[in-house]
Amino acid sequence: MSEEFEFKPMSFPPAVVARISPELSLQRHLAIGIRPNLRKFEEFRNIEFNDGGLSRYGSDDQIKNTSVLGSSVLKSGNTTVITTITAGIIEEDLPAHEINDDAAAVNAVFAKDKTDDSNNDIPKSQLDEYESIYPVVEVERGRVGAPTDEEMILSQKLYETFLHSKILSKDSLKVKVGLRSIDSQGKVDIYYKDDDDDSEDFGLGPKRSWKFVLYAKVKVFSRSGPLFDLVWASVLSALQNTKLPRAHIDENAADIKIPVKMRGNHGTIREQYQIICDAISRDPLKLNNEAIGISSNFGIIDIDEESIQTLQNEDSMEIDSKSILLTDIEGEEEEISSKKTISIVSDRDSKNLKSLTIIGNVSNDQLRKSFELTKFRFKHFAK
């Protein structure tokens, strides 16, 4: 006794297949020579960006009442990335002998065992001369709460790649503190010390120094694939239009020492300065332009023999190798299926690598090809 079963093939629209079986959908697309997003294998998405006018210094004649110092709005495909740069001020730690004239005397009382540390020459690594920014990446996904793994990894990778790219030197973040004074007529003057000005300091001089810390808030809308490239481009373009305000302190607050007496010992406490940023005057943020490059990502997909066989002859494309290098991964299908990926961050002329991440078994040829594409892309990007 046998029952007859009939198997009816189910059919779905392409968008549904892409969702329920991304690898199959991708294989079928690649076998006929196109990508699901209709780009060519080695085609990058176009990236457009502008400053978005979100910064305090949008145009020369108008100053907005915001503390955003630089901004960028980037669009690539459907994805939009908005970056705003803000800053804080931090007092730099200086050795005691530079801060206090009487450091030696103070040390003699409070830190008797400690020897003078002014001659300690610890060799500095080159990286010490550079700073990074503090990025917080948020990918909008309709949920609130703790950041996702992706957001945390992106922020960390941004921080580290930025530091190791040596784009921002410590010097460029120094706050050149001016001094505000009010004369007997009540006229307010603010003095700034210019770079080439060798005149004497305002009595604060090298004894105290402040630096800016830069924060980047990166907001991503409509995510459609790996984000590091876009976030990197967005942060760099925001930094390129970032301007740092000039800052000053009040004359009557300058160099005040308050004598204190504690357990019979005499000492002084120095005034905490309130640093006020000038409402208008600002200087562009100095970046090491040669180090500013672009980031590109590649995915390598191994072609399934079976999917080529399913094709009719007229559909088949000449695919000479068994794996395909895809540039600029986009969409769920490509992202899930790309088990082998390459991510390259290079400097301005693609001469030096700033960061290279390889995941999976990538052949030399594929790596070489991706470098060539990066260089090629940069030539077009620069235009």
Binding site: G88, I90, S155, K219, C277
Partner: protein
């Protein structure tokens, strides 16, 4: 000061102080001064407004609105299933994300509360049982946070209406809001004369209430016309 360290985000050194800017000199302030007649001229405001719906592809509905230096982006997620016990009506939640650093917690709450109240009475909640609707407001740029924040709120409300429509969520009528600069009050209307929300923050706004209603109602009709025209033109 926060007692716990946030290890999930790179927030920089803890002892860094935020920037304090000196007040702008007078010649700059004049440029930023608000022109009351300009704020009352709703028709020219409408022509200056830029609206775009559906930009955020992974949300159910979204809208983007730009006017006079105010930029807001609203995304609506839902109705989507919620976990937990059965609920007969959909729950609405509103979140505001400020990218400008100008919002304090109180203002943030005020905005969310106002939008939530507006739309609770307008969305057909019982049509979507066992589900939740989440509205995310992104403030990208603000014209004037001290004097025109209620204008921003009226724009947020209008943009939310568009985002909810873009998400295909059933509402009784378009919620249109209009802002009265003179009395610093915002009102939201449906069906031209039903008030679904009011927020006034000046001392004499209660005394002038009937005057304000009359004024904003006229404005809201213009806004409604503009929104309807926009919706019809984009649906084709």
């Amino acid at each position: 000061m926060a007692t716990t360290i946030d290890r999930r985000r790179l927030l920089g050194p803890a002892n860094a102080k935020p920037l304090v800017f000196a007040p702008l000199p007078e010649e700059y302030q004049q440029k930023l001064q608000i022109d009351a007649s300009k704020e009352d001229d709703i028709e020219s405001q409408i022509t200056r407004t830029f609206i775009k719906s559906g930009l955020i592809t992974n949300a159910n509905g979204s809208s983007f609105l730009e006017l006079d230096g105010n930029i807001v982006s609203i995304s609506v997620y839902g109705p989507r299933p919620i976990r937990g016990s059965f609920v007969e009506k959909t729950t609405l939640s509103v979140n505001l994300e400020d990218n400008t650093g100008l919002f304090n917690d109180l203002l943030n709450k005020k905005f969310c509360q106002y939008i939530e109240n507006n739309f609770l009475s307008v969305i057909n909640l019982s049509k979507y049982p066992k589900s939740g609707i989440d509205i995310f407001i992104n403030i990208i740029s603000v014209q004037d946070i001290d004097q025109l924040y209620l204008k921003l709120l009226s724009l947020v409300s209008d943009a939310t209406t568009l985002a909810i429509i873009d998400a295909g969520i059933e509402i009784i009528d378009l919620v249109v809001s209009s802002f009265d600069y003179e009395n610093n009050t915002v009102l939201s209307y449906i069906k031209n004369d039903e008030i679904v929300g009011i927020l006034g923050e000046s001392e004499d706004s209660i005394e002038n209430l009937s005057k304000i209603i009359e004024k904003t109602q006229k404005k809201s009709i213009h806004v409604k016309n503009a929104l309807t025209t926009h919706l019809i033109s984009t649906s084709q």
